[in-house]
Amino acid sequence: MSQSLDSSKDTPVIKCESVFKIFGNNALKLLKSSNGQVDAKTFQEAGCIVGVNNASFGVQKGEMMVVMGLSGSGKSTLLRCISKLTDATSGKIFIDGEDLLSMSNKQLIELRRNKMGMVFQSFALLPHKTVIENIAFPLQIKGTSTLDSMEKALEMVELVGLKGRENYFPRELSGGQQQRVGIARSLAVEPDIWFLDEPFSALDPLIRKEMQDEFLRLQGVLNKTIMFVTHDFDEALRLADRIAIMKDGIIEQLDTPDNIVLNPATEYVKKFTEDVPREKILKIESIMDAYDSNNSSSTQVSKDAIIETLAESILNSKEILTVVDKNNEIVGSLNPAKVIKVIFGK
């Protein structure tokens, strides 16, 4: 996945430039007078709630960006701004280089019909429609013929494993099943940009794992641009190309999982990542040294391997290992002592 990131360094699919979202009556006035220096506390005293505070970033095509943060930190709000479900108070947002905020209503509708899909935190299914009708809904709105949209929807039903339940109403489904309907619905129009707001939070661990795998597989095939909100660090690590950590609307750090864990930018991020078992996320690459031909054994390990998976053999080997990349070319060497430090020392 990270390869695609490297290969497409051109215009990002999503680009935000100092986006602010502040709830409250005189938000704009306050924002202007504050000169971009927004402090959640002072704003709160003025009766405003800061949702997103000066967010600037870009998401490349095919990249999966995971947004994390405590409850109320503004994750959903950020997604809403980018999908223009709420209007950002100030700042600029570009989708495929086009200015989202200056789009006409028509353009926006076209954009949503063809390019965007969203999975909602609380499912947001239409209660009066059956599973299949819910999934077919965006297609019908687009104007696809009834039969075509139903066929497509049926495909989606199978994809999310709800076959046999297509004529159920949402109220007859469990939370996890409802969420799967939500996922299927957002996929029905085959969007390029996919927003997922805690899509797996309602699922039990087994299904969640399954869905994550399925999700990764899908992403491997579809190569969509994704913004993914979750509370679950494990999940983030499994899925993310980059992780954004938010606090009080501010993106505290936006970086690769490794960097977030190894080099937390702020105290907050550090705290956030403290309990994360590093061996589970770090790849060999992130702790290897430059290749030293004298001192290396012939045992080779892949630079993309997660430390944990190799930990036992590394620790047993006692000698310095050679790290190779995909093409079996030597890229560095690994000192087992470092591995011990990562796992036990903090």
Binding site: M118, S122, P138, M150
Partner: protein, 685 residues
């Protein structure tokens, strides 16, 4: 102690009541004292309203219209021209539908000009009643299944063989026009109210007034503006039946979670798609309740509509009652209920119908029901045509059973009423005397002996305790408006009757409701009964109660209680049924008895909802008390009824109608504020 007082409503109320009693006994009865009665400063209001109406209906913005009869121009007010064209439109629709069921060619004739009028032989025959019954069977079957098919067809079969086909179709045609109009209007205003806060806040009081104002107070203005006839009946019905639809639409739309709206937006809905494919369908539960209410209210208006020209069951009912034919009247009343039930069930089934997307049907298969209907209609039509030669006396029973030529169970019903009379009269009479002497008159005198200042202390104090300054001022202002008129004493009598009727209805309704909410079968049963009595024309009660209790306040009270217990019961059942079952289980596990559970768990939880029922009970009771003027009362209702024949009655009628509605609004404010707060506290929606 003082801190405790701040939090204890009970103590506050006790203090309030104490102050009230103190004032009650201290203020002397003195016509010149403002503490006793306020001066009628607003006594010119009826005149003002009357002038306003008069101007609106006869003088404002007149345009000359050529009058071919007089051969000259006549000044007609624009306002009335507009209302008259609305009336014509309504009439066109009503007659159009009526002609389908009863035959005729007037509407088509009027479109094509008068050319058809001259030919007597050009006459469109009606669909034979047999075909309508069969059609309903097919429709019911198609929409839901055999059950609905049977209900619909048997209902109309009853109507036909009891010889009520013609008036029923007349009423039905009115309802088939008004109900959809109410639905569309209600939905549109509901949506506007949902989209725009300002619209909602302006709508609220108008809705309140339209729903609580006694019908008789606006009959004359409607008569002038829209002209007497079915269309006027339709207008009165629309005024009455639309508000609940608006209310429920707003309620339903507001309940939609914002994420559902967002999901619609993300699916790329434009505004219409969002409205019609996301918002309205999502709010459908409440909207469907609205439809149910519209149908009920439309049919509840049949009798009133007959006062201003609506043909059909309502008119026949009035004639039957004038002849004291209670049995006949009851038969007619059942026809009204039949229409209500069938329309309600059909509309519900239609709304709930699921589509099958993958059945690849050809035209024939898709429309098979309709084709069957057409074929059967033709067959039945032919049979009806042939049978015309078979039946003697000129009645063709397979085409239309004429009024009065059908079966009747009236003698049995009448015998039943007589039996009740013979068996119970002696006891009822003793009861009646007791009630009048020791309860009703005592209460009435107590109300009339209430100094105005103590009334205000009580009412505004209650407002303050329940809803703070805001409620206190609103309630005070509403009552002040009445107190400054000449009709305060009459309003007190109305209030006394309302208090009594609501009190008894509430006790009755809550008791019956609590008992019936115990299990599913009795719940279904009692809700069915409630539906029945909500649409069964309340006029019918008037005569039997006079027979039993004479022309006394008791009669009015009994009629009011019979009618007003319906919402009290309904809301109690609904409230109790919505108590989460987990609580039942929890309570059962802790070993409480049934009664304890009812008293300490279910009732408190259901109470806010029940209180809203009491609110409705008050509205129903007041409606019946005003109608009780037909029996003979000395309250506001008597004058409202009398205004129909007064030279300048319209203004007074409207003013007093507003008074009645203000009494409702004041009570509504208190009850609703309290119930909302309670609901929030209990964490129920």
């Amino acid at each position: 102690m003082l801190i405790n007082f701040k939090n204890s409503r009970l103590q506050q109320f006790i203090l309030l009541f104490f102050v009230f009693l103190l004032l009650y006994f201290l203020v002397p009865e003195d016509e010149n004292s403002f503490l006793w009665r306020l001066p009628p400063l607003l006594k010119d209001i009826p005149l003002l309203i009357n002038n306003l109406l008069d101007n609106l209906m006869f003088k404002w913005l007149t345009v000359p219209v050529w009058d071919p009869d007089w051969q000259m121009y006549e000044d007609k007010p624009i306002f009335r021209l507009i209302t008259r064209s609305i009336a014509d439109f309504l009439l066109f629709l009503i007659i159009f539908i009526r002609e389908i069921f009863l035959g005729g060619l007037q509407t088509i004739g009027s479109i094509t000009g008068d050319s058809l009028k001259g030919f007597k032989w050009v006459y469109l025959p009606a669909i034979p009643w047999t075909a309508v019954v069969v059609g309903l069977f097919i429709l019911g079957y198609r929409l839901q299944g055999l059950g609905l098919a049977l209900i619909a067809s048997i209902g109309f079969f009853y109507v036909s063989i009891f010889g009520q086909w013609e008036p029923t179709m007349e009423t039905l045609s009115l309802v088939l026009v008004t109900a959809p109009i109410c639905f569309v209007l209600g939905l549109s205003f509901g949506i506007l109210g949902y989209l725009n806060k300002k619209v909602e806040t302006t709508l609220q009081p108008i809705l309140n007034i339209a729903q609580t104002m006694p019908h008789f107070s606006y009959l004359v203005p409607i008569l002038v503006l829209f002209g007497i006839g079915d269309h006027a009946g339709a207008v009165a019905t629309i005024i009455f039946a639309t508000p609940p639809m608006i209310r429920l639409t707003i309620l339903g739309l507001k309940k939609i979670s914002p994420e559902v709206v967002e999901s619609g937006l993300m699916s790329g809905c434009n505004r219409f798609q969002l409205l019609f494919r996301v918002l309205i369908p999502t709010a459908r539960r409440d909207i469907l309740i609205g439809v149910n209410q519209v149908i009920m209210q439309c049919l509840a208006m049949t009798t009133i509509a007959a006062f201003i020209g609506a043909k059909g069951l309502g008119f026949n009912l009035k004639v039957a009652l004038n002849g004291l034919k209670i049995g006949k009247a009851a038969e007619i009343g059942i026809c009204v209920v039949v229409i209500a039930v069938v329309l309600d069930k059909l509309s519900l089934a239609w709304a709930n119908k699921q589509k099958d997307y993958f059945a690849n049907l050809n035209f024939y298969k898709k429309n098979i029901a309709f084709i069957y209907f057409i074929i059967l209609s033709i067959i039945l039509g032919v049979i009806a045509y042939i049978s015309a030669f078979y039946f003697e006396k000129g009645f063709n029973y397979l085409y239309l059973i004429p009024f009065g030529e059908g079966l009747t169970i009236a003698p049995i019903l009448d015998a039943g009423v007589d039996w009740i009379w013979e068996t119970f009269f002696y006891y009822l009479n003793i009861f009646n005397k007791f009630l009048i002497t020791y309860v009703l008159f005592v209460m009435r005198d107590a109300y009339l002996g209430m100094p105005v200042v103590s009334t205000f202390v009580l009412v505004m104090g209650a407002g303050f305790i329940i809803g703070g300054v805001r409620s206190c001022i609103i309630v005070g202002a509403l009552i002040l408006f009445i107190a400054l008129s000449e009709y305060w004493n009459r309003a007190l009598i109305t209030a006394y009757m309302a208090t009594f009727a609501v009190g008894v209805s509430a006790i009755l309704g809550i008791t019956v409701g609590s008992i019936c909410a115990r299990n599913d079968i009795s719940t279904k049963f009692i809700l069915g009964i409630c539906d029945f009595f909500q649409t069964f024309p309340s006029f019918i009660y008037l005569i039997p109660v006079i027979l039993l209790f004479g022309i006394t306040d008791t009669s009015v009270m009994i009629a009011a209680i019979a009618y007003a217990s319906v919402p009290a019961t309904r809301y109690t059942v609904e409230g109790l049924r919505s108590v989460p079952s987990s609580l039942h289980d929890a309570a059962s596990m802790s070993g409480v008895s049934n009664f304890q559970r009812w008293k300490s768990i279910e009732l408190p939880l259901a109470f806010p909802h029940i209180m809203l029922g009491i609110n409705q009970t008050l509205i129903f009771a007041l409606m019946m008390i005003v109608l009780g003027a037909l029996i003979g009362t000395e309250d506001l209702g008597q004058i409202i009824m009398g205004c129909l024949s007064r030279p300048n009655g319209a203004g007074i009628g409207l003013t007093l109608g507003i008074f009645v509605s203000f009494i409702c609004l004041a009570a509504d404010n208190l009850i609703r504020t309290w119930a909302d707060e309670r609901k929030k506290l209990l964490g129920i929606d």
